[in-house]
Structures are given as C-alpha cells and as structure tokens.
C-alpha cells in the first residue's frame, strides 16, 4: 500500500517556501497534508481562533485582514497564511476570508514549526514573504495618502445610488435622505446600458430648482436633473479630478471603471483628502495672470519632477503628473489667450497629442498639439482669430519649456487647425486608405486627448477611431510596420549601439530606442481591440484582458516599459540636479551593473514583442 498524493506533492514542490526543502521532506509533508474547500465569502480563520495548520492557497483567492478590519493582504494560488499564529502562540493573528471559491491545503503546524527550526532557507523564505507583504502594505498606504499619485477610485466609498427618470422629486429626496447621499444618479426608463446614467441631481438642485421656485414634489426628477454629466475615470489622479471639479464648478463626479459607474465622488471627499504640497505647481499655474508668470514656474516644474523621482514614484505617476502640469499650462494659456483676443467666433477644442495624451510625459518634451474647430467654421472670417490664438499658446508653451514640435504638428500649422468634418476625413483616410508612408508621421494622432473647449469633438474622433480601426486589417498592418521601424539596441552590453548623429557615440537614446517603440507596439494592439485607454500601461491591461498576447508576455512588457522609463527619468533627474540640460541619451558607464543587466533584459523583451507583432500582422 502506498498513499502518495501526487497533486499535493507537485504543487508544494513548486512553491515557496516548500521549494527550499529537500525532496524527502516535501514528500513527507505531502502525505501529511489535508484539504478544505471554502466557498467565496466564507470565514477561513477568525481572530484568536486556535490554529493548527499552515494554510496554502491551492486555487482561488483569499483576503487577510488586520484586527481592526483593514485589508492586510490578498493571496492567490501559492500564497500561504497562518504562519504568524503558528510561530507565536498558536492563535490566529490575522483573520482570513475567501474572496473567491478557494481550495486550501492544510499543512500540519507541528511539521511547519519543525521545518522552520531545522532549515534556515525555509525559514528565510517564510520571513521574506512576510517582509515583502509588509513592505507592499506600507507602500500602498504611503501612496494612497498622496493626492498627487492616488487615484480617484480610492475615494469611492460606496456603490452609486440612483433611480429611474420617471420617479418623483419626493421619492428622490426620500431616497437621498435614507441613503445619506448628497447626489443621486438618474437612469433612463428602459435604458439599454443600465450603467450609463442620464443625469444627476444634487442637494443643491432640490434647493434651487424645486424649493426656491415652488415646484411640486410630484414632478418627475428628469425635469430638474442636470444632463450630460461629466465623469472621471477610476484611474485618474485625485488632483486631476479636483481640478476638473473646480474648473467646471461641479461638486459631484461619477467615477467610471470599464464604462461602468462605480460610485460618485463629492468635492467634500476630495477636500478632506487634500494634501497641500502636491498641488503647488498646478495651483500656481492657474493663478498666473501673464505668460511671464507662467514662465517663472519652469523651475518649480523641474523641482516637482526631481522630488517625485527622489520619492521613488513610479513612471506612471511621474508621467501622468507631468502630463497634468503640461495640460494645465495649455489650459491657462488658452484662457489668457481668449481674454486677450476675445471669445472664440465658433466653438473649438484644443488637443493634446502623443505623450501628453498618453499621460506619459517626461521633463524633456516638445509640444504636439492641434485644434478642432466647429463645422460652422469659415476660414475667411474666423481663421485669423484661431491662428493668433494658436500662435499665442504655442509661443507661451515654448517659453515655459515645451519646445516647438520639429515635425510641425502644432495648431499653428493650418493643416492641424481644421473643422471637425475635415478631421474626420483625415482619420477616414488614414484608416481606410492606409500606406505605411502616409501613416509614418500620423501615429501621434492616435493618442489624442481634448484639453480645452468642446471636449466632445475629441471624443467624437476617438469614437471614430475605436469603431473603424479594429476592422481595418490593412491599417493595423501599416501601423504595425511603422511600429517596427525603431528597434532596441540588442548588442547593448559589449558592442554599444551608436546613434547615427555621431553626437552621442557612447550613449543610447532611451526614448527613440526604448519607450517610443514600446508605446508604438502597444498602440497597435490597443487599436486592434478598440481599447478606450490611451496610457500605455492601461492599454496593455486591456490587451492582456483581450488575450492577444501569450500568457506572461503582458507583465513582461509592462515591466520592461517601467524599467526603461525609469532609467530615462532618473537620468533626466540627475542631469537637472547637476545643472545640466536633461536629454534622453543615457551613457552605459553611468549605469550600475544591475541596471545594465536589467536594461538589456528589457530590450530583449521589447525585441521579442516586436517579433510577435511582425508575426501577428504577417510582415516580413
């Protein structure tokens, strides 16, 4: 008779800390292990309960809590819990519940304690896991407290409360009182998409639109609601959302995640969360009354950038903070421009393109912008105004450190200052009649974001892209071909790739050979699936969700992008602190062995991702 549980054995062998043990110990453990199943939402361990087994997650996911109910950690397959109790007094220290349906392997605590004493590497692996969890938990807390980097989602405390548009004002008031909310989302009667609200009503509406005018409380709520509500994306920074509220004079913003409303954030929530220092630069931008005052803020922007690098912010935080600052400069310049030139003769939308639209801006950046004008635009009557406005903004941006675009992709160029109808033709042409040559300098337009004016114009173009791009294989193939034009330097370690301009013989352009080609290839995949995201990391998440990449390749590419971006960002921060002019060219001597090795790995991942793109679109 033999009783070998092969599945348990194989699983333990592959996971820390058991993979540190000699085979015979793991075999022994696998024969002593029991099993239990927990449906999602079950209590697995309660505080102070006696604990006799080390719990190992075989499948599913569990949540570990602090005594006070705060989430401490989330574990999935291969994670283990209960070790703290086993190593101390045999009582549960951190309660655990199952987040998903979970199968748990129960390794006897007596064995665990013996192995912990007998095998140093086993004990180390257990403790490393513990320390890492702690660090992760600390990191989360630190960043959640910083308004500059925290996302608006962290301020969503509850599900959105809403009602049908035919309900009465009285019902609405009752519901708001009962649910203790200051706003209510209003949904259409039989709306196809139940997640998209029709409008919103707030406490203020009840006061101003009902009580003050003596409206009957039996009136339907749709009579008093505000339509066309402005929403924020769940991953937008809190201070971006706050700016949005301040500038549009809104006190409530519905928060969207994957097209669904996950809650409503009130201005009071944001103010409560405010941390003054992080708003310094943006606040000053909007207080500046002249271009000269804006220009004077250049040094503050640099200081913010260096400070974020020093504080170990990641590239996504830095990239989006720099983009918000850049956007704020544009917005304030347009405001000043309109003050100077008078109100615009027809509505328009000012666009950010490229890295600013992707929220991936660095400190070294040029201005890529454009204008969409209302279709009633008449060049003879109106264009002089818009040219002057574009020139004012462009010159202003240049004085604030955003150099003119060498490719002349600026609103000052007549070609990029056109009515919406013409813009739609541009995109139709690019997507439906593509050639690699025509698209060569156009990829930047597929990262497009409205920053001022009729933002809906920009959204219309983005919608058009989302509708047409996934269906046009030839367009995608051309975009793919162009995305392969810039390759990473692979002989990086020994034979350093030199740039052709001769200027930086021993340096590597981390943008042209690194971050740009990664953004390019992620963009192609994102266009192919009609992703709504613009940020490369966010796009990559969508691409992974759509199962386009081989499992594991998505996270690899994300890490590669993060690594190359951070090498570039750190290099620029260092230049700034040394009083030099920052650029994208990193010298290998300036890198540690560790960075060099990682950078080489990152370039290898980029190269493989390019090969995959080539294969996917059958390019030779």
């Amino acid at each position: 008779m033999e009783a070998e549980h092969l599945e348990i054995l194989d699983f333990l062998k592959q996971h820390a800390p058991f993979n540190e043990l000699p085979d015979e110990e793991v075999e022994r453990l696998s024969q002593l292990t029991d099993v239990a199943y927990f449906k999602a939402g079950s209590d697995i361990l309660s505080y102070q309960q006696r604990i006799e087994d080390l719990h190992v997650v075989r499948s599913g996911a569990v949540e570990v809590y602090h005594r006070n109910g705060d989430l401490y950690n989330r574990l999935s397959s291969g994670g283990f819990f209960g070790e703290a109790g086993l190593l101390r007094n045999g009582k549960v220290r951190y309660p655990v519940t199952s987040l998903e349906d979970s199968l748990i392997y129960l390794v006897p605590g007596t064995e665990f304690n013996r192995l912990f004493d007998d095998y140093e590497s086993f004990a180390d692996a257990v403790e490393t896991e513990d320390r890492e969890r702690l660090k992760r938990a600390l990191d989360r807390r630190a960043s959640a407290n910083d308004m500059l980097t925290a996302t608006i989602e962290t301020l969503v405390y509850r599900e959105p409360i809403g009602m049908k548009s035919s309900g009465s004002i009285r019902e609405a008031a009752e519901m708001m009182t009962e649910q203790e909310v200051s706003s209510l989302l209003i949904y259409e009667e039989d709306q196809e998409d139940p997640d998209k609200p029709l409008g919103i009503i707030t406490d203020k509406d009840l006061r101003k639109r009902v009580l003050a005018v003596g409206l009957s409380d039996q009136t339907a709520v749709k009579e008093i609601m505000s339509e066309g509500i402005v929403c924020v994306q769940h991953n937008q920074r809190i201070f971006e959302a706050m700016l949005m509220m301040l500038r549009s004079n809104l006190h409530h913003l519905p928060v969207l995640k994957k097209g669904k409303t996950i809650g409503v954030v009130a201005l009071s929530d944001v103010v409560r969360h405010e941390s003054k220092s992080s708003l310094f630069v943006v606040g000053n931008i909007f207080r500046a009354t002249t271009v000269e005052e804006l220009e004077a803020l250049k040094d503050d922007v640099k200081a913010t950038f260096v400070k974020m690098v020093d504080e170990d912010a990641n590239s996504r935080m830095i990239g989006s903070s720099m983009a918000v600052i850049g956007r704020s400069f544009k917005q304030r310049l347009l405001e000043l421009g309109e003050e100077k030139l008078g109100p615009p003769p027809v509505p328009y939308c000012f666009l950010a393109l490229g890295s600013m639209a992707r929220d991936e801006q660095s400190i070294v950046t040029d201005q890529d912008n454009a204008m969409i004008l209302h279709d009633s635009f008449n060049p003879k009557e109106h264009d002089a105004y818009f040219l002057e406005l574009a020139q004012f903004v462009s010159d202003g941006l240049a004085s604030c450190g955003y150099t003119y675009c060498t490719g002349d992709i600026m609103a000052t160029n007549k070609k990029w200052r056109q009515p919406l109808r013409v813009w739609k033709e541009y995109f139709d042409d690019w997507i439906e009649e593509p050639t690699p040559e025509r698209l060569l300098h156009s990829s930047i337009f597929f990262d497009l974001d409205g920053v001022w004016g009729k933002l809906d114009f920009a959204e219309q173009l983005n919608r058009l892209i989302r509708q047409k791009a996934p269906k046009n294989k030839r367009f995608l193939a051309c975009m793919a071909r162009n995305a392969l034009q810039r390759t990473p330097p692979l002989g990086f370690f020994k034979d350093f790739v030199m740039e052709k301009d001769g200027k930086h013989n021993n340096a590597i352009n981390t943008k042209r050979r690194g971050t740009a080609p990664v953004a390019d290839l992620i963009r192609v995949h994102a266009l192919a699936i009609g992703s709504k995201e613009r940020n490369s990391f966010a796009r990559l998440e969508d691409v992974v969700d759509a199962s386009i990449l081989t499992p594991g390749r998505g996270p690899d590419l994300r890490d590669a992008l993060e690594l190359i971006s951070m090498v570039r960002i750190r290099h620029q921060a260092l230049s700034l602190t040394q009083g030099e002019i920052p650029d994208n060219n990193v010298e290998p001597e300036a890198l540690s062995d560790f960075e060099r090795k990682n950078l080489r790995d990152a370039f290898q991942i980029l190269s493989n991702a390019q090969k995959f793109l080539k294969f996917r679109y059958s390019l030779s």
């Binding site: 008779m1 009783a3 599945e7 292990t33 099993v35 349906d101």
Partner: protein, 244 residues
C-alpha cells in the same frame, strides 16, 4: 464517457432504509469481514450532513464492463464537511483475474508489470472493508464502484456487497441536466453541461488534477463534494436527500 439515460434514472430510485438493510445483511452474510462491515453503525436517513463521516472512493478498472473487466487500483480518502483527511488516504493496486485489455494500459497510467506484482483483491479487501465501515461512500458515477466491487467479491468469496453511496455525478446531473436544459440552450443548440469529474470541478473553482490515479480521483471527488454542499446544500441537509 457517454452515460445513457437508463443508468442516470436509476439515480432517482426510491429510498432504501439503509441502516435496516445493512443490519439485515449482517445477519445473512457468511464472510466474517462482510459481517463485520455490515454490523458497523451507520447514520440514519435524517442525520444532518455535518455529523456524517464520509469516504471518497474511486476504482480504476481495466474496462467498463464488470463482467469482463476487473479492478486494478483502489483509492480512498475520508472526509467530513469541514476537512478532507487526505493524510488518511489509502491506495491499493490489484491484479485482476481477467486479462487487462492492452489499450487500457496508457489510460490508467499503470503498467502491466506493476499489476503483475500486485496482490489479488482477495488479499486486501478486508483492509478496504475496514476503512469503509461506518462511513458513507462518495463516488463520481456509482455504477462503477458499486457494481465492480459487488462482482469482484462474488467471484472471490461467493457473495456480493451492498452499501449506500452519494454520487457527485448524480448531484451535478440534477443541477445541470435533468429538466434544466433551458429554452435558450435548446434554441441555441448548446450542448448540456459536461458532468465529468474535471469539468464539474472547474465549475466550483477547483484546480485541474491529472485523472486516472485512483487516489487522486478519490481526493478530487472528496473536494468536489465539499464544494457541492457549500454551494447547493447546507450542513443541516439530511443524508436522505443525497444518498441512494
């Protein structure tokens, strides 16, 4: 493996009063191990599941016909609703008296030489009955385990065996097949859901286990049963709702 409606219907048969039936058999059995097995106390029909000791049981056989094929391995794992006692699991190899069909060699992951060296079931069935006694058996597709053991004992000791079982396949069948093919599924010609062990497990978030090792299959069945009870029944559900 395709299952005919006939076998599945037998699942819904009338209730047997199992404690009384086993007591009766204890009186009539001639083999001492069988007598011992039947005289162990088993829970009543109205005992809640929380108080029952179960034993997940799985056989690997050399084929599907109990008259022509034999048992080549047996895996058992005891459990309660709270815990699967994998560490008390047992596994026996057995040499069938009927020749092993060639094509089944790969299927079971057991080689001829392993089987050649294995003892006849006659030498180990007393151990098996010992661990079974006092437990309610859990199997995935009872036609195999109950019939093969019955036939094997008839051939060896001249009398068969009866015992109550809970069939996890029958539970899945009740949930996903019987009267549950929806109008939409029929309209869209969707096949009814598979109730094979691995597919059933996947629906409860249970991991994939490589099939056809009797001990692994018994463990897999035990885990599936815990999941089924947590999702569709309660610890207070009486045994009579599930056994047959």
């Amino acid at each position: 493996m395709y299952l005919g409606q006939r076998e599945l219907k037998s699942a819904l048969q009338s209730q047997i009063n199992w404690p009384a039936r086993l007591q009766e058999l204890a009186g009539s059995a001639r083999n001492s191990h069988l007598q011992h097995f039947y005289s162990a106390t088993i829970p009543n029909a109205d005992t809640p599941l929380r108080d029952v000791k179960f034993l997940a049981l799985d056989f690997e056989t050399s084929g599907l016909d109990p008259q022509q094929h034999g048992i080549v391995s047996v895996g058992v794992v005891p459990l309660t609703l709270e815990r699967v006692f994998a560490n008390k699991g047992k596994h026996w190899l057995a040499k069938p008296r009927k020749a092993m069909a060639d094509e089944s060699v790969v299927y079971h992951g057991i080689t001829h030489s392993q089987i050649e060296d294995a003892p006849d079931l006659l030498e180990t069935f007393d151990e098996l009955l010992e661990v079974m006694s006092g437990h309610i058996m859990i199997v995935h597709y009872k036609a195999i385990e109950r019939t093969f053991l019955d036939v094997a004992l008839r051939e060896r000791i001249g009398e068969g065996i009866e015992f109550p079982v809970i069939d996890t396949m029958e539970i899945e069948h009740g949930l996903h097949r019987a009267n549950k093919t929806s109008f939409w599924q029929r309209l869209k010609k969707q096949p009814p859901m598979s109730i094979r062990l691995a597919d059933s497990r996947a629906r409860y978030g249970l991991p994939f286990y490589r099939p056809h090792n009797a001990l692994t299959d018994a463990l897999a069945t035990a885990e599936l049963f815990q999941a089924q009870v947590q999702h569709h029944y309660s610890p207070d559900t009486p045994l009579s709702e599930l056994w047959s």
